[in-house]
């Protein structure tokens, strides 16, 4: 840690050159565009992004289906989401994202269930539309309290020419205008989960907003303080530990997108006065649409760690009157002692520890402040499926010389870690055991490693405890046998 910024830059540059040597020449050229180090003052991180992954390199990315079914639609609890195609996609993503919700599963809520059309060869050959038609009938019979159905296309659907839009329209008519949403999120579309988010957002626009009578619920009375939480998937209860703060500020949260969300909440969102957006990457599209069509402003916020939370609460409050602003200051003051106690407890143990991140969505930048609140330093970060606007936003969080790796490959990540020797890595399940075997403490930063919530003040206490637990575990002193050097 005695290295100067310039020394670190040189070391990171050398490291990038080193890993590129392993690739065939033309592939090294392509990968080179995705690896860099941040130069202070630059408008972005100096990497290309949202480009096709190279074949055969062990990308960590997923697909459009994962972005639509797994991220955006799956958590909407009172709808049935059909994984349309072969059995696997729905099976591997079944209840894996920890989108918490309250409801009677299988009766009025369906998040942790795997509905699939389980395509067989005949469905590929003859098409699956008739099967889909029947599936919708069977859902209506066996799950009569469902409030809507979404059809999440898997790869074959777009390849065999099925017309799921026609089936959706027909069935919607048959069931008195029922919300039935076809989503063209076949896994081969786009280059990552990201296009799936976009397609899912567009499907909400086209098949929910545009088909909903604005006066559907005359009993819904708006207030000047109505906001919607956009882009919080309630992983481990994140949206709840966020919502509680917005409510304490005096705001009325009329919808959660989409963790613990309902179709009614989606439909009512155009009545919001402000959309507050956590995961920019997966839901900026619908936020922009609501701004254009319904004139609803939106603001991004960051509920990781007290510094960012405080800033975000004030930013959100700035859209409202003085009463809200005053309450917001009270909320900040109320939680200050708790935050101080958490920091006093953990910071001495975590001060100066180096972190490397590789996650999706908003986290490669959003969690940096939370680590810094604990005295830790993020020395490398990258996005699975970020775009350039993510890398621009990242510059507000990172320090000069930070190692940047877009769509990192297994090979690169392993070598970076081997050389940078961080004290903690935050990434996903596929990476976890690789790095733990290397003796590096690890936390899954998609699923919160089955912990959480990490959002909000209540969540930060858990976050701090978890990071300390990972780094301070006595197990890391046992990885080398005592009889070896």
């Amino acid at each position: 840690m005695t290295a100067t910024v310039e020394e670190r830059k040189a070391a990171n540059k050398a490291l990038i050159e080193e890993v590129l040597k392993a690739y065939p020449e033309k592939m090294a050229k392509r990968r080179a565009k995705h690896l860099n180090l941040y130069e202070e003052g630059k408008p972005d991180c100096g990497v290309k992004s949202n480009i096709k992954s190279l074949p055969g390199v062990m990308t960590i990315r997923g697909c459009a289906y994962a972005g639509s079914k797994g991220v955006v639609w799956g958590p909407i609890k009172d709808m049935v989401h059909i994984s349309h195609g072969p059995v696997g996609c729905g099976q591997y993503s079944w209840a894996a994202r920890r989108n918490y919700y309250i409801g009677q599963t299988g009766v009025d809520s369906f998040v942790t269930m795997q509905f699939t059309s389980d395509f067989q060869e005949k469905d590929i050959v003859f098409g699956g539309d008739k099967k889909l038609d029947k599936i919708i009938d069977e859902i209506q019979e066996l799950f009569p309290l469902n409030k809507g159905i979404s059809i999440q296309s898997e790869c074959p659907i777009g390849l065999i020419g099925d017309d799921i839009e026609a089936v959706s329209k027909k069935k919607s008519k048959e069931y008195e205008g029922k919300t039935i949403v076809p989503v063209r999120c076949e896994g081969f579309r786009g280059v990552s989960q990201s296009l799936g988010h976009h397609l899912a957002n567009d499907a909400i626009r086209d098949w929910v907003f545009d088909k909903t009578d604005p006066n559907k619920r005359p009993d819904f009375v708006s207030t000047p303080y109505d906001v919607a939480i956009i882009g919080d998937y309630n992983i481990g209860g994140d949206a709840w530990s966020s919502r509680i703060l917005l409510e304490e500020m005096g705001l009325r949260v009329i919808a959660q997108w989409s963790g613990d969300g309902t179709i009614a909440e989606l439909e009512n969102t155009p009545k919001a006065k402000l959309n507050v957006l956590h995961c920019y990457r997966s839901m900026n599209y619908i936020s922009r649409h609501m701004e254009e069509k319904y004139g609803i402003p939106w603001c991004e916020y960051n509920f990781f760690g007290p510094t960012q939370i405080e800033k975000s609460l004030r930013e959100i409050a700035s859209h409202f009157d003085d009463a809200i602003k005053a309450k917001t200051e009270a909320v900040i003051a109320k939680y200050k002692p708790l935050m101080q106690a958490v920091i006093d407890k953990y910071k001495p143990r975590l001060q100066g520890k180096k972190v490397m991140l590789y996650v999706g969505g908003l986290r490669p930048r959003h969690v940096i402040g939370a680590y810094e609140d604990l005295g830790m330093e993020v020395v490398g970060t990258g996005y699975e499926f970020g775009h350039n606007d993510d890398y621009q936003r990242t510059t507000h969080y990172i320090k000069d010389s930070t190692l940047i790796y877009d769509d990192v490959t297994g090979y690169e990540f392993e070598h970076f870690v081997d050389k940078v020797k961080p004290d903690l890595i935050g990434s996903g399940i596929k990476e976890k055991y690789v790095f733990q075997k290397m003796g590096v403490p690890f936390r899954q930063m998609h699923s919160w490693d089955y912990s959480g919530p990490y959002h909000g003040y209540d969540g930060f206490a858990i976050f701090a405890r978890d990071m300390d637990m990972a780094i301070s575990s006595p197990i890391w002193s046992l990885t080398k046998a005592p009889w070896k050097n």
Partner: protein, 519 residues
């Protein structure tokens, strides 16, 4: 304020605090527009009825909560079972992210696998370029000794030809001409993960035995005294392979285990990540051709493979994941018959210990009714074990089981008086099973992690003995096969029985007279 630095509440307890309970209540009342509690209550009750069951079983198109995965998962499993072999799945990349996650969640181990990352342009023009570049990248970065290729449904739907693509890739210099690239078409819309296991395994065998896709001479079989062992797809492979090898060692028999991923899913934490560890070597694959016979431990995982082995002139003994006493007897007697060697005294002693343990404990399991679901072979093995304990395997279900399998399970029922009232359910899913657990309840459920939803809904205690197990750790490290494995199965069944009995009798002054200290 619910949270404090001294006592940090996790999600389990945090959201039970009054602040959050109030939040939930308000959200529900003001914004969710749910059905009334009364209506929801009515439907809950209705789902427990015979009427609901009839409608549920009348389903023709919809699958809900199936107990099966798709072919490539089995192919990735197989590739992991060969020495220094990199699994390469041709098609969309998201699939590979899923297989890797799925295995890592079960084994708590890394799972290496690459994708050819086909996207829309490949859907139009075919994935040849992806194969060419992908093989080159994988070869250079991960330095495998072999790359085993399989396919996602995308590549299958557009009809990519692996044989031709691999040939072209070699011509273009992606990998050296002599580099081993066995392959298997593994369409996700045919069969399940066990079909993928079969296709991938026969793909490897054909590659080495039949002249490496026409590039060398086919090998000539020269029968010897060795025996091949093929395990089939097995979530307990880390524990089981150790046990199987020990059994063959006790016999003093040379065994060629064809596909052994136990090494790659069991590596130490000592500062080094081993991407490749253990696995069947090429020499062992070649030696396998000359074996006098092959024991296929799970018939339904190896239908094509078995046929191929028979064509090669080998005797194939196909078993159905035999466990417990009689099951293991059949297995060890098969080894004995094939090799002409007597069953080792050590194994006979272990058999006696298992019988001893079962005799000690059988009274607790006798007459208990079980529902079980999982892969077809495993269900046959478990059914037989339950019957020999005097328990009743009342509902036996396999989403990927066919009618022939069902007939076989029925025959096992028919062999025991305890099988009299039992029923087998091929091609059914866990939503069917939910109905059954309401209309024809049982005492215990045997299944995978997803069985916990049935446990929650129906109150049937779950014993986790089926892949995948995500929510309990390290079960895969212990064997379920062999007499030793039988002991483990027995203890699992007993633990759940005793835990349930204790939980049912724990109320002080009310039920705790039965909260016995000695059981």
């Amino acid at each position: 304020m619910p949270q404090s630095a001294d006592k940090i509440l996790d999600h389990e307890l945090l959201f039970r605090e009054p602040e959050y309970q109030e939040l939930f209540k308000n959200k529900k009342e003001q914004f969710e527009y749910n059905h009334s509690d009364e209506k929801v209550g009515q439907v809950i009750e209705w789902t427990k009825t015979e009427d609901y069951k009839a409608k549920n079983f009348a389903r023709e198109a919809l699958t809900v909560n199936p107990a099966k995965a798709c072919q490539p998962l089995g192919a990735v499993y197989v590739a992991n079972g060969f020495h220094k072999t990199l699994s390469f799945v041709h098609g969309s990349q998201g699939c590979v992210a899923y297989y890797r996650s799925h295995f890592s969640r079960h084994f708590k181990e890394p799972t290496s696998c690459v994708s050819s990352s086909m996207t829309e342009d490949a859907a139009v023009f075919g994935g040849l370029n992806n194969m060419v570049d992908g093989l080159a990248n994988a070869y250079n970065l991960y330095k495998p000794d072999m790359i085993a290729v399989s396919t996602t449904c995308m590549a299958e739907v557009i009809g990519d030809d692996l044989n031709a693509f691999i040939k072209t890739s070699k011509e273009k210099g992606s990998v050296p001409a002599e580099f081993d690239v066995p392959f298997a078409h593994t369409p996700a819309f045919v069969g399940s993960h066990i079909t993928g296991y079969d296709n991938a395994l026969v793909g490897v065998l054909q590659h080495f035995w039949d002249g490496k896709a026409g590039t060398t001479e086919a090998l000539t079989r020269v029968p010897d005294d060795s025996i091949n062992f093929i395990a089939g797809f097995d979530g307990f492979v880390v524990g089981n392979m150790k046990e199987i090898r020990r059994i063959f060692d006790l016999f003093g028999v040379k065994v060629n285990v064809l596909c052994d991923p136990s090494g790659s899913w069991s590596t130490p934490t000592d500062g080094e990540f081993r991407m490749y560890e253990g696995g069947t070597t090429k020499e062992e694959v070649i030696a396998g051709l000359h074996a006098k016979a092959t024991i296929v431990f799970q018939e339904y995982c190896c239908e094509k493979t078995s046929k191929y082995l028979v064509e090669k002139g080998q005797e194939v003994v196909a078993l159905n994941a035999p466990v417990g006493v009689a099951g293991t007897d059949a297995f060890v007697m098969a080894i004995s018959r094939l090799t002409g060697k007597p069953v080792p005294a050590e194994l006979e002693r272990e058999r006696g210990l298992l019988v001893d343990a079962m005799a000690d404990s059988q009274a607790h399991l006798h007459g208990k009714r079980y529902a079980l679901y999982g892969d077809p072979d495993q269900m046959l093995g478990y059914t037989q074990f339950l019957l020999e304990l005097g328990a009743e395997p009342a509902h036996v279900l396999a989403t990927n089981g066919n009618d022939a399998w069902a007939a076989k399970v029925q025959a096992v029922f028919d062999s025991s008086p305890y099988g009299a009232g039992c029923k087998v359910y091929p091609k059914r899913d866990l939503w069917h099973l939910r109905s059954l657990l309401f209309t024809e309840p049982v005492d215990f459920l045997i299944g995978n992690t997803y069985g916990k939803y049935l446990e929650r809904d129906t109150g049937t205690p779950l014993v986790r003995l089926v892949f995948p197990i995500f929510d309990r750790h390290h079960y895969h490290r212990f064997p379920t096969w062999g007499y030793e494995g039988g002991m483990r199965l027995l203890v699992n069944l007993l633990d759940e029985f005793f835990e349930t009995l204790d939980a049912n009798t724990i109320v002080t002054g009310k039920t705790d007279y039965s909260y016995d200290i000695i059981r």
